[in-house]
Symmetry: C2
């Protein structure tokens, strides 16, 4: 059986790319090495900041994302996955840059939501760019963002994860933000930032839907040639 070669556009940040790769390997049905997928990874931490580009007019990461996508295609990738929610603001130019499919983490996540109102844990840039609203609202799913104070706390938590702070001390702070989303009527929390995925909190006040897991699932299915 011939599986499709997976290309991962990574480095945003590196720990999130490690986590995606780890979950992808674990999620692949395999007893021996040769049952596994071939995976090409470009873990490039030098991609210009998505947040700076979206919020403060910094240089666009699109040219570098397109170059990485083309490099992976040239190296043999047959499908691409990008484990960074905020970078999906640049999905369209990437799709135009290559011949192979680029999976859409946000659409894959929206397709797995079964409630009508979700709370969003994401970067301020992803929230303000309306990335999740665009994916969710046409499916009849309302998206609730944290209060400005709580969003600032999410931003601090993401920076703390990127700096390698241990999850234990960060989880209670995340829980307070999730409680605020619940108070706004959210019936599930969307883990819409790969750094928040790294905190995987078993005691969250709301059921969590992790966009990273949704992308893992979509990637394995696409590589094995299965329909959802």
């Amino acid at each position: 059986m011939k599986h499709k070669v997976v290309g991962i556009v990574g480095g945003m940040g590196p720990a999130a790319t490690v986590e995606f790769f780890a979950r992808l390997v674990r999620a692949t049905p395999a007893m021996r090495d040769e049952d596994h997928l071939r995976i090409l990874i470009d873990d490039d931490p030098g991609i210009p900041s998505r947040t700076e580009a979206l919020l403060r007019g910094g240089p666009s990461p699109a040219p570098r994302l397109c170059a990485i996508a083309r490099g992976l295609e040239r190296a043999g990738a047959e499908i691409l996955a990008m484990p960074c929610n905020t970078a999906h603001a640049f999905l369209e130019p990437m799709r135009a840059a290559v011949e192979i499919p680029v999976l859409d983490m946000l659409a894959e996540t929206a397709a797995r939501v079964e409630v009508d109102r979700v709370g969003l844990l994401a970067t301020e840039a992803a929230v303000r760019a309306g990335l999740y609203s665009k994916a969710f609202v046409p499916r009849g799913i309302a998206v609730v963002a944290p209060s400005p104070e709580d969003q600032a706390e999410v931003t601090r938590l993401i920076a703390a994860v990127k700096a390698g702070e241990p999850a234990g001390a960060l989880r209670p702070r995340l829980r307070r933000v999730v409680a605020g989303l619940k108070a706004q009527g959210a019936r599930a929390a969307i883990i819409g930032c790969t750094e928040i995925s790294l905190l995987h909190d078993p005691e969250s006040p709301l059921p969590a839907i992790d966009a990273l897991d949704c992308l893992v699932d979509a990637t394995v299915r696409a590589a094995l040639g299965e329909e959802r």
Copy 2:
């Protein structure tokens, strides 16, 4: 500061490649994404079995290893690391195939050993090919291999890790093998197989020197341009 781009020849097996990547990211001194290394990974689980080639005359993995090394070089890698001990039997043809340096996990491990007699936890193929003896004996380090029964147990443990069995049940079995090495006079255990690295046992009867960690250390130093 310009870091060297790291290429990882992976897939032997995929979980060991994940572990190496994870340790490499954790070992890199970094506060923000852009402090990290650029890492290109070819995780190719279809590389012909190193054990079959070395023990039973199966097809050589060398052509595919050389092709992967050349592909990573073409994609921009400036140094290569291969987190698989047994595959180091094919290091010389790989080095001849590319212009960039290929790190030698076994030499890096030998350089970090401070005792005169070590016990070896490795595949039967690596033991029989004398890979570790070649790296260790010229440095005055004697290498002790497990008894045939214990080596068969190591082989079963490696297969169990590749099949995804949980580490908890496997560690006591590994401990019995290490106790046998200790009884033979070994003063440290060389974790000379990346699947055994995944079991990281805190209660080992001997101090452990993990070849995977030695390769992580050598890779970070080489990428940052530091001498050992």
